[in-house]
Amino acid sequence: MTVREYLSPRSLPEALSLMERYGPDLLVMAGGTVAMPLINDGISLPERVMGLRHAGLDGIAQRGDVLGIGAATTLTQLLAQDAVPLLREAARNTASWSIRNMGTVGGNLFTPPPGGDVAVALLALDARVRLAGPRGERTLPLADFFTGFMTNALAEDELLVEIQVPTTVRETAFIKFGRKHANTPAVVTVAIAVERRDGRIGTARIALGAAGPHPIRVADAEAAIVGSALESDAIQRAADAAMRECRPFTDAIATEWYRRRMVGVFVKRALERVVA
């Protein structure tokens, strides 16, 4: 263990001042479920680590039509809320009880694929992220937060403090397909949220996990069902489009070839679940 100092701020201002003081070399950690395995194995050798467990960044609050989820809210806390069923479903399908007691909603946005299942659901829900830094705060759509494999829109001195989720979306579906039923990395994860106008799809969000360098939306697949009444041919067109658009990868869990085909299968099944 080469860590020289473990910093445990008690508030957001304290956390931000520590980031300003120590700069980009400071490793920011919340639940530790991503960072600690790397530190334990000596793959990550940070000099200073800031833990956010006691920084007061957890908790869920409903404000009008928006659910504000503190970045350090645990996945167990997310599972306990009932304002957004899709997030419950995503939390239930993520890791195991002990890990859900530690891992955080904010941390899930930094979890490289095939992890990050909650982030897939958040993307389908048009979530926004609130970032705080020395120059103040800003919010941006989660879709703009992801910029590449393990890269994001955070400036070096900014901290993710809250995830904001609209609670108005009614029709959703979530399927995580893995090699086991529980506590498993995804072959592919599909999260869908749609709104209908007069029985036809007005807006559609189809988000995929383990099918790109970060959770992605598949715009052509979404376009394929907009205006439809989710007839089976529209669903098939969406599944075909998602297979073309996705950018899966090969790892120990599945090959790129297999993942692409499973994207087609599970986008179709998730849309059928919306119909039912």
């Binding site: 600690m36 334990n40 002990s98 529980a182």
Partner: protein, 162 residues
């Protein structure tokens, strides 16, 4: 690498340990305090053999900097084992031969304890779900699930004792 002192509650007592920064709770319990039920398995949060309870909630102690449990109550297999005899969950594991090599057993019993504290009459599905993060390479899990069901009956809805 200045060492720091961390205080937490263990077995009804305040314990104070001097640690290097970010020493895991697992390492402190096993190597500094001799609580050898807390196994060092994968150190990745992937196997559950280091499961302990922090303020009653199961956590992977290999992923927890001990600084984060300052002031909190830590429960291990040692702390729930009575001076005489064994805990009802331990007895149920014996009765159902719910182990072979025994390496996963302390973690399995701790997650089961947490489950029965939260839900004294869990369904089979709830048991399987609770155990999902704890790996056993010997038993095939069936005797472990049966042991937790047996322990739930033995404690008759009163919850598992401390």
């Amino acid at each position: 690498m200045a060492s720091t002192i961390v205080t937490f509650e263990l077995a009804g007592r305040e314990v104070e340990v001097m640690v290097k920064p970010m020493t895991t709770l697992q390492a402190v319990l096993r190597y500094q305090l001799g609580f050898t039920s807390v196994k060092e398995g994968c150190r990745q949060g992937g196997c559950g053999s280091c499961t302990v309870l922090v303020d009653g909630e199961p956590m992977m102690s290999c992923l927890l900097p001990v600084e984060d449990v300052a002031g909190r109550r830590v429960t291990t297999l040692e702390t729930i084992t009575p001076d005489e005899g064994v805990h009802p969950i331990q007895q149920a594991f014996i009765d159902h031969t719910a182990f072979q090599c025994g390496y996963c057993t302390p973690g399995m019993i701790m997650i089961s304890k947490a489950l029965l504290d939260h839900d004294p009459h869990p369904t089979r599905e709830a048991i399987v779900d609770a155990l999902a993060g704890n790996l056993c390479r010997c038993t095939g899990y069936e005797p472990i699930v049966a042991a937790v069901e047996g322990a739930a009956q033995a404690t008759a809805g009163k919850g598992a004792p401390r």
